[in-house]
Amino acid sequence: MDPDHHNLKPDPDLRDSPEVSYAGSTEPPQVLMRGIVKRFPGVLANDQVDLEIKRGEIHALLGENGAGKSTLMNILYGVYQPDAGEIFLNGELVSIHTPKDAIELKIGMIHQNFMQITNFTVAENVLLSMKNRHEPFLDIAGATARINRIAESLGFSIDPGAKVSLLSIGDRQRVEIIKALYQQAEILILDEPTSVLTPQGTRDLFRLLDDLIRRGLSVVFITHKLEEIMSVADRVTVLRLGKKVATLNRAETDTRELARLMVGREVLYDIKKEETRLEGEVLRVEDLQVLNRKKLVAVDGVSFSVRRGEIVGIAGVIGNGQSELNAALCGLQPVRGGRVIMNGEDLTNAQPREILKWGVGFIPEDQNDGLLMNQEIWENLILNGHGQPPFADRFGRILFKNAFAYSRELVERYSIKVRSIHSLPRELSGGHRQRLILARELSRNPKLLVAAHPTRGLDVGAEEYIQQQLELGKEQGMGILLISTKLEETMRLSDRIVVMYKGRVMDILDRDEATVEKIGLLMAGVKQ
């Protein structure tokens, strides 16, 4: 019996049936999680959550950031241990202490950050989690053959000998799927799989999921994107603030209801757009070429500009050069070719301290790059100006009175929830840490703000606040370059959108002409 082709026959009627009831159904659900409780320091991630997955269904797990969806699935996959509650597989109580247990129980998980070792080949990554039958040597040839077989049966091809670091994001995701199938998973958990895909890539993935269902797998799909649920899921479970709010059939609900359940109130996606006078250029990028860490071209001749009083958004799937572009603009990565002109000054290849002097502010891609976790709030807030008056005198001494006063004012102005200016950033929530960074940058009234993924990982409330602040900045004449993977955010805030694909600018769209389809096609490399 070929382990890669499952013999289970899915019930074709079940998927479109409007009724879901357990009374009368003799088969126990494939997965039943009951009363799951999980606490982390300071937060109750899962609060008595129940979840039921039926065989052969695509079950979506919906919730905002921080609702507890990933935690719940990580418990199922053995990464975390629940503080209370039970897990049943096919009616039998199981205990899953490690991912190895989960794998043995035929549960596979594809995390948002792929669990792959970039310096290993595809085959090595797959073999890592397998029991080795030919001790002690690895059966690389056998693995290679099997990987090829699985890939072929799913309709794509992957080179098992390729180093993972050289693969595209889409391919890396496929490697994750191959890994799960190699381990003969019957339950596949995907954590925000489409966050790294273009709209077309998403469609391909959904087709793949349908294929897997036909082979007898069940799929759990973590997401916060409502349209995706409506297009592919059979049932949806909504989590909010650690609690399960509802489980619904997809056919019986719509995006508005799901949004309401997810957030708990009507969500107003409505930011007032004021007319702003556009003045001079604050940023001009000409034919920029930047190499990435592997010395490959990541930014390949990019040109665009940002003017005062406008927000320019960079749209694109992760991995198409945005990180390198951001790093080059911040001065963290050297530029191989082209020019970067900020506020009229040629700052190509300048160090961050130079760039700061010309009235530029940064919101770094990774929040940790913008915070000094073990230093006090006030030390964080004066970071950019610490060497000059009013915070230091000409002998190099720090003027504490001025520093403290300034910090107190900022904390108040931006409503940063902190005990005192002598607390540490680690005591703040993610959203307030971002406020800290924002406060620091905006209060210097930069002419240009380079904001990379400013609302990443934040809940809706924090997201709204940050977006409002960006709008405010723009109204006050700031030029903002917004790099974000959240397409809705980019479209909502930007006056113009630069779409990047494989390091190049596909097109620059004005606000009124930008539609999801257009951008999606451009993001996937399809020129109009």
């Binding site: 001065g331 700061l356 790059d369 915070l371 000094l372 073990n374 970071l383 060497g387 001494r397 005591e427």
Partner: protein, 349 residues
């Protein structure tokens, strides 16, 4: 978020623990226990041994001054450790930097300048600092420009320095006698003794003053802010406009300079000449001094006195009960290991 209980009166123990005072004390006590165990294994009564140690280090005004004499270079090098480690520049080269400073001080001290001591001695101090700083410069430079691991390079330079001294005292700087050492320095070039009939010299005062200077530097100046920030988060520091290359170079030079001054103090205050092996591992001990002192000047002062006591009393311990003096390295090594365990998680305030 903090709950109400934390805002109210916390137990004194919690406060001490938080302020990084309790932990080093616990570590020190534990290492003494370890030492005691070793002594028991080799048939020695630890209480007698420790008593002998205590008497030799604190028992009389002479012993106390000897303890301070040993503490002085430890303190200076320990301060250097603070400056370097606070920006994550792992300078293990204090041993070599001491010798380099000693060489420069001896050279300047031997110059026939005919200047009063009041002028000549500060010149020697300066020379010592320059010597130590220059010696630290190459490993620092290699680290910031070529990313070469500074631990290995600074340790290699330690061996180079030791042999350099050997070369000089057997050769170009050899004095008139048969022994391999330089000529004795003229009296006005030696650090004056402050307490009669003891070896308590000016250098000790200089070291204590330097501790205050380092405190000011690290917490009250822009450079100190930069050093701490670079050590805390390199990328955030860069994005905040700090140039880590210049910060680390300054830190390296200052920490080398401090060790160099320690070298001057030994050569000018105790040895009064350049001689091989004048440092019984002060540079390496200083790593422990810095860590036990939690990289804070006050802590380092206390730790330096502790280690000074261990050094000065260990010979007495050896003669009294036959415990080899190398036991203090066991104790010191254990302290470093224990401190390292908490080093990652604690916040370096």
């Amino acid at each position: 978020m903090e709950n109400e209980a934390n805002n109210r009166r916390r137990s004194i123990w919690a406060v001490l623990w938080d302020n990084d005072f309790l932990f080093p004390v616990v570590v020190v006590l534990a290492s003494f226990v370890l030492g005691a165990l070793l002594m028991l294994i080799s048939g020695v009564n630890p209480l007698i041994a420790y008593r002998a140690l205590f008497d030799a280090s604190f028992g009389s005004s002479n012993s106390i001054s000897e303890t301070m004499v040993k503490a002085c270079p430890l303190l200076l090098c320990g301060l250097g450790t603070i400056v370097a480690f606070r920006c994550k520049f792992w300078n293990i080269g204090a041993e070599g930097q001491i010798y380099a400073g000693g060489i420069m001080a001896a050279l300047v001290g031997a110059l026939p300048l005919h200047l009063p001591g009041l002028v000549h001695i500060p010149l020697m101090i300066l020379a010592g600092a320059v010597g130590g700083a220059l010696f630290a410069f190459i490993p620092t430079f290699l680290k910031v420009k070529l990313k070469i691991n500074e631990v290995i390079t600074t340790i290699m330079f330690n061996y180079i320095a030791i042999h350099l001294v050997g070369y000089l005292v057997h050769g170009p700087m050899k004095g008139k006698g048969f022994l391999p050492m330089s000529e004795k320095l003229p009296p006005e070039c030696c650090l004056p003794r402050l307490i009669p009939a003891t070896r308590f010299h000016l250098g000790i005062v200089i070291a204590l003053v330097t501790a205050g200077v380092v405190y000011f530097l690290i917490w009250k100046t822009v450079l100190g802010y930069r050093i701490r920030t670079v050590g805390e988060n390199l990328t955030a520091a860069r994005l905040g406009g700090i140039n880590p290359v210049s910060v680390v170079i300054w830190a390296g030079l200052i920490s080398g300079g401090l060790a160099g001054i320690a070298g001057m103090v030994e050569v000018g205050g105790i040895q009064t000449r350049l001689v091989e092996g004048f440092s019984p591992g002060y540079g390496y001990l200083a790593v422990a001094v810095g860590l036990v002192g939690q990289l804070k000047p006050l802590g380092v002062v206390l730790a330096a006195i502790l280690f000074g006591a261990l050094l000065s009393g260990s010979n007495a311990m050896q003669s009294a009960v036959g415990v080899p003096f190398t036991i203090i390295y066991v104790i010191e090594g254990f302290m470093i290991m224990a401190i390292s365990a908490r080093f990652m998680k604690r916040r370096l305030k």
